[in-house]
């Protein structure tokens, strides 16, 4: 069985039946919806439009301890990083789930990042197809859709009184088997409703960008004066990168003293002047123009070259959250028009 139907009133029972050590789902917090660990599945808030932050932090926390140490006289003890608990992320948007697939390329690439992979392997992703895309959404331009299945173990689609469940991986099927008593087989009518829901939602997306020729063009306009023009209004803050579900740069720091401390990794942003500053004080990306160019090229040129994926899912958070209207769609439109 690759599909199933769950009555909405059975959602809480369904989530409980998954028996995860941690359930992470969107909940209302200080007027915003954010992904938090919840003890009670009844607290889930499924107002997808309001997701300001992605659940990237589940597998890539803003601050994480790589190891901790303690020295008492000649006795040095080193505590490794905590091992992840079995986790279910419920209600993730399809665009954000695609970002997990994109991050996997890097963290599960030439170098196997144990901190990321441990969390990723313990995480089951249950998506919820978007029914009300927002004015920032442009996922179809990046190959996604409001009902994209990539990166997900299960996808829920709201078809009125029920959820239509697509079981997408062996892991998803196995988890779902625990809840088998709660679901039914979809009828032809319910399948049609799912198709309609997908089409209706896709039609609601109103922003778009053409990527025609962008990949070939970007390296050729590296030296263009346009970067300066595009970056002039940028404040050089980290909002775009910290809200981005695919941005993954980090800094490593030791905190503490000789008797006790820890090595941490913490999100870093290529938009900060400090990001590429050398010990000597020299900085190859001293200006905001160079830093903005790097952000765009990393997503649309270097990442596809190195890992075969564009590192953007079209969630539009960088656009929505930017205080000065730096708009990636506008930037790409400009890039396409530039003469080489």
């Amino acid at each position: 069985m690759d599909t199933a139907i769950l009555k909405k009133e059975k959602l809480i029972a369904f989530l409980k039946s998954l028996n995860a050590a941690r359930l992470i789902a969107p909940v209302a917090k200080k007027g915003k919806t954010s992904f938090e660990v919840i003890a009670d599945p009844g607290a889930v808030t499924l107002d997808l439009n309001d997701y300001s932050a992605s659940p990237k932090k589940v597998v890539f926390p803003q601050t994480e301890t790589l190891f901790a140490f303690k020295r008492q006289k000649d006795n040095l003890t080193v505590a490794p990083a905590d091992q992840a608990d079995a986790t279910v992320v419920f209600g993730i948007r399809p665009c954000d789930a695609r970002s997990f697939a994109i991050l996997d390329r890097l963290f599960d690439g030439d170098f196997k990042d144990p901190y990321y992979l441990n969390k990723r392997e313990q995480t089951l992703l249950i998506g919820l197809a978007c029914t009300e895309p927002t004015n920032r959404c442009f996922c179809p331009s990046l190959g996604g859709s409001p009902a994209s299945e990539e990166g997900l173990d299960m996808l829920f689609t709201d078809i009125g009184d029920e959820y239509y469940i697509s079981l997408l991986t062996e892991r998803g099927k196995k988890a779902h088997a625990q809840a088998a008593a709660l679901v039914t087989e979809p009828t032809t009518e319910q399948r049609a409703k799912k198709d309609q829901a997908d089409k209706k939602s896709l039609a609601k997306i109103r922003r778009q960008v053409s990527l025609d020729g962008i990949h070939e063009k970007l390296p050729r306009i590296f030296e263009s004066d346009a970067w300066m023009e595009l970056a002039n209004k940028c404040l050089g803050c980290g909002i775009c990168t910290y809200y981005c579900p695919t941005c993954h740069c980090f800094d490593i720091q030791d905190e503490g003293d000789v008797t006790e401390g820890r090595r941490i990794r913490v999100w870093d942003s290529c938009m900060f002047e400090e990001f590429t500053r050398h010990t000597s004080g020299a900085n190859p990306r001293h200006t905001r123009a160079e830093r903005l160019r790097n952000r765009v090229l990393h997503k649309f040129s270097y990442y596809p070259n190195n890992l075969g994926y564009i590192a953007c899912v079209g969630c539009g958070r960088c656009i929505e959250q930017c205080p000065v209207n730096v708009d990636i769609i506008e930037i790409l439109d400009r890039v396409r028009e530039l003469n080489e």
Binding site: N135, L235, C237, P323
Partner: protein, 325 residues
């Protein structure tokens, strides 16, 4: 009318041979957004506009590399920067001049008497998911919001930014050109601080811990602040590392409290830090409380006079001794 006057001034300014660029506002890329822009040719003046969507304090750009007059060139005589300023923004310029951050001669100030800007968060809650480029104008006691040809009026008080409700100086205090007729100011009674002051120490600490727990240290507050322009911020340093890089409530709190104290007697109430905060932290509550303290202790408000001596940079025997440690 005012729009044409603004464009005429901008064309004239951009034609001058000593002007490097003009920092102004143009229509944003989508929805109810306006974008800052940096123009260099008189032909570009056509793009400029001013409306209640012009939230940004453009004085922040004066200290950015490649734009600002802090980067002095010897060869190029186009050294002056022109910029559009609202009443509140003009106080930032005055204070920058007062503390020698910029020179008066290096800027050409196009003053805009400003009847108030919108609280963008409230506006977008009221008009969600707008993609078509819309406009907001003031019509009597209401904002007239136009989206896709439909105009809706909303009473000013419902959408006005908090800082505008207490704005004493809607007309810029310093300018070279004024694009509009002067406007009368409102009263500032610091009523907004009373609620916070009523809290006990424990409650205050609890409240701010909850706020700073959400901080993601994107530094948008710092970067957008026109008066946070140290070229070598002590809080960025690795050695000594005053603030750890780990993003914890404790470090976040330390960062914001140090920043607030550094802005005591300097914050000119443009509210940009709070507007740009993506996590909705009410940073202006801290700045306003300190502004009130400075006013009560020293009778000083920053940004009113470019010749004024910055209050915490000078000592007089008449100063209050209460707070000396």
């Amino acid at each position: 009318m005012a729009a044409e006057r603004l464009k005429d001034i901008a064309r004239k300014v951009l034609s001058r041979d000593d002007v490097k660029c003009l920092i102004g506002y143009r229509r944003g890329s989508y929805g109810l957004r306006v974008s800052p822009c940096v123009l260099t040719s008189p032909d570009d003046a056509e793009q400029l506009e001013f409306s209640p969507l012009c939230l940004h304090n453009l004085a922040s750009y004066l200290t950015q590399e490649n734009i600002g007059p802090l980067v002095k060139t010897t060869e190029d005589k186009r050294t002056k920067i022109a910029l559009m300023v609202k009443g509140c923004d003009s106080k930032a310029i005055n204070h920058l001049i007062a503390e020698r951050g910029i020179e008066r001669d290096s800027v050409i100030i196009i003053g805009i008497p400003c009847p108030g800007v919108v609280n963008i968060k409230k506006l977008e809650e009221r008009f969600p998911n707008v993609v078509e480029k819309g406009t907001v104008a003031i019509n009597g006691n209401a904002f007239a919001i136009t989206v896709a040809g439909n105009t809706v009026e909303v009473p000013l008080d419902e959408l006005l930014a908090e800082k505008c409700k207490r704005c004493k100086h809607p007309t810029p205090l310093v300018y070279d050109e004024l694009a509009g007729d002067p406007l009368a100011g409102r009263e500032d009674t610091f009523d907004d601080v009373k609620e916070a002051e009523a809290l006990g120490l424990e409650e205050r600490f609890q409240k701010w811990q909850e706020h700073f727990e959400r901080c993601i240290r994107c530094y948008a507050c710092k970067n957008t602040c026109p008066l946070c322009y140290c070229s070598d911020c002590a809080l960025d340093r690795l050695r000594p590392q005053l603030i750890r890089r780990s993003v914890t409530t404790r470090e976040n709190l330390l960062f914001h409290v140090i920043r607030a104290f550094h802005l005591a007697g300097r914050c000119i109430d443009c509210g940009e830090c709070e507007r740009v905060c993506p996590q909705g932290i009410p940073l202006m509550e801290l700045n306003r409380k300190l502004a009130k303290e400075v006013k009560e202790l020293f009778g000083y408000e920053p940004g009113l006079d470019p010749e004024a001596k910055p209050v915490l940079a000078v000592f007089t025997p008449e100063d209050s001794n209460e707070e000396i440690l």
